[in-house]
């Protein structure tokens, strides 16, 4: 006998509690089953529905009411919180008749329920905040008119490059005067500096990304450098680099990352004698904007043969990176141990810099780095960055917006006169609303030497479904329906690495043109306008005051 509780469905969730509700049209559906087959969360299932239809019978010329019972096959959304519809829309992608589509439910109560078994909600993706970001509120308001005619983005020569590496102060340059010439003092140490495109691809690991996604990015980067003459560099994320890449001439376009798990570094160090090129730089990750203070985790089912080999670990084990570098006691020690020892490994020919989460304590880190002659740069990753896996609470509620954090750091460097010595790179939310070049330019005018992108490239190059309404965000589960963040061959075969590469090239070429279209009316072409904050305005007094830019209305 059914309990009364079960019978009245009182312990069940209604579909209105769910963030996405499936709209299915019975009249269009051919019951092919493709939607249920591709649904990554099994949020929909084929079911049967008994229908009672009232119709009229005609009997001897007299109309009489009658009922019939019909059983039909339907697509039903399940109301199990562990199989909630994530709104990815893969069902609609495969439906031949446009019969199914998830629809966002703004009144959902998902988070009230998504902690069954005492396990907090974890996911991939980014902060769920669809509000317009500060970066997208900034406008470029200093337009050259008459007194300094604006430039022609299509005709003038533009220098859209930045420097990654420690720039010596002019006072510290090892120059000696011979007559009217200044010549470098032989044998003097000059820190390595790379001239790169000011938009980099930020750290996303092989493992977090599927083989075709990572390969597509890498191919695109190589093509941009070798054919298009746009020197884009790409960070490996934590997890090493493919052995063949380590020994190839393309290594110079990559930034291997060291994070707290040190995954892949045994292999990188052992490959040193066989390297024919130095990497572009080395990034030491101390924090990540999307989940500050949190470690990384690559789930066991993503650790397949290739990943295990690259990372130097057994297959099918959870790979946890601790929240902090366990061997470090202090920033001074971290700088001394990591930056200097890694610099030494490459004979001080490679810039080595740390990446931290956006935080109120960024200035403390910055001031320490500014005093350290081997610190090559600082990357600050703001709260609008993304991740492959984190607790929802970390993503939504932890972190610091990048705009004011970056601005504070730049102005601090200006105060100490080191704004040119230690380049700042900003990340976290660049291109959040698809305005890649505008966001990058705004950060450059606020003081960044360059920016990193992650989720933008996933969306633009591989059609990632994710958005700020918690759409999809299954990166942590290895069930990415686009094949971007999965190691399951059945899924990643959906992604064409060549097409990803082509899109990467498209994106950077168009971004370069858009940067010119921004800088040309501002009259800037010979140097990247780093810190040219007089070019910015915002229609919000509080933001204007905070960033020390003009309020415009």
């Amino acid at each position: 006998m059914e309990s009364a509780q079960r019978l009245d469905h009182n312990s069940e969730l209604s579909l209105l509690e769910f963030p996405y509700i499936i709209r299915w049209r019975e009249d269009r559906c051919s019951r092919c089953g493709r939607c249920t087959a591709v649904c990554p969360t099994r949020a929909i299932e084929a079911s049967v529905m008994a229908q009672r239809l009232v119709h009229t019978d005609t009997e001897g010329g007299t109309l009489l009411p009658a009922t019939i019972r019909r059983v039909s096959t339907v697509i039903r959304q399940v109301n199990d919180i562990d199989h909630h519809c994530v709104g990815c829309g893969t069902c609609s992608l495969v439906c031949p008749n446009m019969a199914i589509m998830p629809e966002y439910n703004p009144r959902h109560k998902f988070l009230f329920h998504k902690n069954r078994g005492g396990v907090p909600y974890a996911r991939g993706g980014r902060r769920n905040d669809p509000a317009t970001s500060t970066l997208d509120k900034l406008k470029f308001t200093r337009i050259s008119m008459l007194t300094d005619p604006s430039l022609d983005a299509g005709r003038h020569e533009f220098y859209i490059r930045t420097l990654m590496g420690r720039n010596l102060s002019a006072e510290a340059l090892p120059l000696e005067r011979q007559g009217d010439l200044l010549l470098p003092r032989p044998g003097a140490f000059i820190p390595p500096v790379r001239e790169i495109f000011p938009i980099r691809i930020g750290g996303m690991s092989i493992g977090a990304l599927s083989p075709p996604m990572w390969e597509g990015l890498a191919m695109g980067v190589a093509y941009l450098n070798e054919v298009e003459n746009i020197p884009v560099v790409m960070c490996s994320g934590e997890g090493g680099l493919p052995p063949r890449l380590l020994k190839s001439r393309y290594l110079k376009y990559f930034i291997p990352q060291i994070a707290s798990g040190y995954f892949g570094w045994d292999e990188i160090i052992h490959a040193l004698p066989e390297m024919i090129e130095d990497p572009a730089a080395i990034e030491i990750k101390y924090g990540q904007g999307a989940k500050p203070g949190d470690g990384g985790l690559l789930m066991a089912y993503k650790v397949l043969k290739l990943i295990a080999k690259i990372r130097g670990v057994p297959m099918y084990v959870d790979l946890a990176s601790p929240p902090t570098h366990q061997t470090k006691y202090s920033i001074e020690e971290a700088v001394a141990k990591m930056i200097q020892s890694v610099s030494m490994a490459w004979g001080f020919r490679v810039p080595v810099y740390p990446k931290i989460s956006g935080t109120k304590t960024a200035l403390a880190v910055l001031n320490n780095l500014a005093r350290h002659p081997y610190a090559a740069a600082l990357t600050i990753d703001g709260e609008d960055g993304a991740t492959g896996a984190a607790y929802n609470v970390s993503m939504d509620k932890m972190g610091h917006p990048i705009a004011s954090n970056l601005r504070d750091c730049y102005l601090e460097l200006v105060k100490s006169g080191k704004q040119n010595e230690l380049p700042l790179f900003a990340a976290g939310g660049v291109g959040k609303e698809a305005n890649l070049a505008a966001n990058a330019a705004a950060l450059i005018l606020l003081g960044a030497s360059g920016v990193d992108i992650g989720k933008y490239i996933m969306q633009a190059a591989a059609e990632c479904y994710g958005d700020e309404h918690n759409r999809c965000n299954l990166c942590n589960l290895g069930r990415c329906p686009r094949g971007i963040t999965t190691q399951d061959p059945r899924l990643y075969r959906r992604l064409d690495a060549d097409r990803v590469a082509q899109r990467v090239v498209d994106i950077f070429k168009s971004a370069e043109t858009e940067l010119k279209k921004i800088f040309a009316p501002m009259g800037r072409s010979t140097q990247l306008p780093i810190g040219m904050a007089d070019g910015l305005g915002v229609g919000d007094q509080a933001i204007a005051d905070r960033l020390q830019i003009s309020y415009v209305c």
Binding site: S144, N167, L181, G417, M522, Q527, D534
Partner: protein, 377 residues
């Protein structure tokens, strides 16, 4: 666009010559002001060359305050010059107060100090006086340096020149820089008026400097007491010149490498190519983005002119041995040196820096691409 007029001469030249050139170039400026800086002075100052001259404008209260302050610092006034102010029809210049150039003797306890300490004293004294006049506009000081006078006032340059009585009793000097100022996107303010002067270095510039804010922030953060002001985006040129030549000890030619660096691919043409990449990176934020033509002088009275690649109308240098003009427009040169050999005029291209050594006996054209110097005399 500001109009620039400079004269370098073996003999003392009237400041009015440079002002007349500005008037000839009138189409290019809106008559919002005149600034002149004279170096290697003649006339009454010819025999006062070792005495620093404080140039400024004072209200009665400002004059008293300045006198008291200078006395308190131990400076002893040796000689004061006042222009023969001419007012009346056709001169629409509002008299602001006392226009004075006073030569002082160093305080006793500074007389034997090293020059580096003396120059710091002069600059700090000027800045302190400027600070004292900021709130009530009771005094403006433009330069405090030996053998140097600066005058500035709002109005049509020719009218301001007449106002100062330069037609009857001109100041004379071997180096004269004059600028007809146009207010661009900055308000009309005397401290925004070129030429700008710091410790023997002086520049005036036309065109807006789009890289002003990064330039300014970089200079202001060098920790040097004199990098102050920036009411005009052109003041950074003077301070960059001072920074590269005085602070870093670079030869003048490197000033051009700092403000308009070569492309990396062009370094190979220079014998010091390896240095250029280092300078370009380390002084990245002093790179200008034009379009600017700048004319200036060094403490030793070397005068120069250069501009960046975006300057659609380059400056011009011409004249004869012992008397050269450096102008933003050819018509200004025609006014000052109508009988020169025009075929010898130098209209520098973007890679060139025109240098007139002290004494104005020759003109050197330094080529940034290969480092060569062509001398014309």
């Amino acid at each position: 666009m500001c109009r620039l007029s400079a004269i370098s001469s073996a003999e003392y030249t009237s400041v009015m010559d440079a002002v007349m050139a500005l008037d000839t170039m009138k189409e290019g400026h809106d008559g919002s002001g005149l600034g002149v800086t004279l170096k290697d002075l003649g006339g009454e100052f010819e025999h006062l060359k070792e005495y620093p001259i404080l140039s400024g404008i004072y209200s009665d209260a400002g004059r008293r305050r300045t006198d008291e302050y200078m006395e308190r610092c131990g400076f002893k006034a040796k000689f004061t010059w006042e222009p023969r102010i001419t007012e009346g029809a056709g001169i629409n210049v509002q008299r602001r107060g006392h226009y004075l150039a006073t030569a002082y003797q160093f305080p006793d306890h500074y007389r034997d100090r090293p020059w580096s300490e003396q120059e710091e004293l002069l600059t700090r004294t000027r800045l302190e006086l400027r600070r004292q006049g900021t709130d009530d506009d009771s005094l403006y000081v433009f330069s405090f340096w030996p053998d140097t006078i600066t005058l500035k006032e709002v109005g049509d340059p020719l009218e301001v020149g007449r106002f100062f009585g330069f037609e009857q009793a001109p100041l004379t000097a071997r180096v004269v820089l004059a600028q007809g100022r146009q207010n661009t996107n900055y308000s009309i303010q005397l401290y925004a008026c070129h030429p700008f002067f710091l410790q023997g270095y002086c520049t005036m510039t036309n065109g807006e400097n789009t890289a002003f804010v990064p330039n300014r922030d970089f200079l202001a953060s060098r920790g040097f007491y004199g990098y102050h002001g920036y009411d005009s985006d052109s003041e950074v040129f003077c301070h960059t010149l001072h920074y590269s030549h005085h602070q870093l000890g670079y030869p003048l030619t490197y000033f051009k490498d700092v403000i308009t660096p070569l492309k990396d691919a062009e370094f190979a043409g220079r014998p010091d190519g390896a240095t250029l990449g280092l300078l370009k990176r380390s002084l990245r934020q002093l790179c200008i983005d034009g379009p600017n033509c700048t004319i200036g002088f060094l403490p030793d009275n070397t005068v120069f002119l250069t501009h960046d690649s975006k300057k659609l109308r380059p400056g011009i240098v011409g004249g004869k041995t012992g008397h050269y003009g450096l102008m933003s427009e050819e018509c200004g040169l025609d006014q000052v040196l109508p009988r020169r050999q025009r075929q010898d005029d130098i209209i520098p291209m973007r890679y060139e820096l025109v240098i007139i050594p002290p004494g104005a006996q020759e003109v050197q054209v330094w080529n940034q691409r290969n480092g060569s110097i062509t001398t014309v005399s």
